[in-house]
Symmetry: C2
């Protein structure tokens, strides 16, 4: 994945008060610390679940999948908002989005292995964004997500 080597993870550019999130905060020692990057027209989050993150033996826990899709979607909204404004990611603190609505379709059991979430922008206004995502393991889509994110006003 050398093509992404220079893509800055959006979570590394969050304002300090957004860096303690259990799902993606760089300063939360106990959390998942997911990282989301722009890749062409899409966003990508790669995440390796731990052995404890199971629903059944060998199957990833659905709540973890929802969590990763949640933070991936909020990060994707920030990425797409910066791109829309013509601001390079990493050049300034990113805008903040919070999740208003989250949906996950569990299409098949997700094997306990590295997952890739690929996000695409469905809608973007000054106030909100809609991001849809596919979750893949080994090339198979095992879950799909949709999220409505609301932009937090700058102070």
């Amino acid at each position: 994945m050398s093509f992404m080597a220079n893509a800055v993870p959006i979570q590394d550019t969050y304002p300090e008060d957004a860096c303690h999130c259990y799902g993606c905060g760089t300063l939360n020692e106990h959390g998942f610390r997911i990282k989301t990057r722009l890749d062409g027209e899409t966003t990508i989050t790669d995440f390796q679940p731990g052995p404890q993150h199971i629903a059944f033996t060998g199957v990833t826990y659905g709540g973890l999948i929802a969590s990763v899709i949640d933070c991936h979607s909020a990060g994707s909204a920030a990425i797409f908002a910066m791109r829309r404004a013509g601001i390079a990611i990493g050049s300034e603190p990113s805008p903040r989005f919070v999740t208003a609505h989250l949906e996950v379709d569990y299409l098949a059991p997700t094997p306990l292995a590295q997952m890739r979430i690929v996000g695409r922008l469905v809608e973007m206004t000054d106030r909100k964004a809609i991001v849809e995502s596919d979750l893949l393991v080994g090339g198979d889509v095992t879950a799909r997500g949709s999220a409505v994110l609301v932009r937090v006003k700058d102070e």
Copy 2:
């Protein structure tokens, strides 16, 4: 809550292979170990998040909320299925349900404090159940969930 003192948590009656779930498995040492009980026509899960489970300072992480609603919904489906079959909870291993679709509406920031999830059955067939839930902190509904659960065939 003495009225629930004798209600058996459904997770305590799951078959052994369902007891390792990160959200509700009694045998998962690292997980949330949520407990869901029947209370009249509803189901109740009380859960105390940890200090690390934040989105922002003082606000509970949305992915944790989705996780708790996920396992609460699957447990509620099992409870409602047993009640429908006239089987006392705790008298035999419970049926198993897996989540096919999960939705969460985040209505307001959820304070980092003990949460109560109250579930109600919307639909139940031999194959699936739909459970809707309110999440309350201190009496205020801060999130709502809806889940479609599919029954795992007995072997």
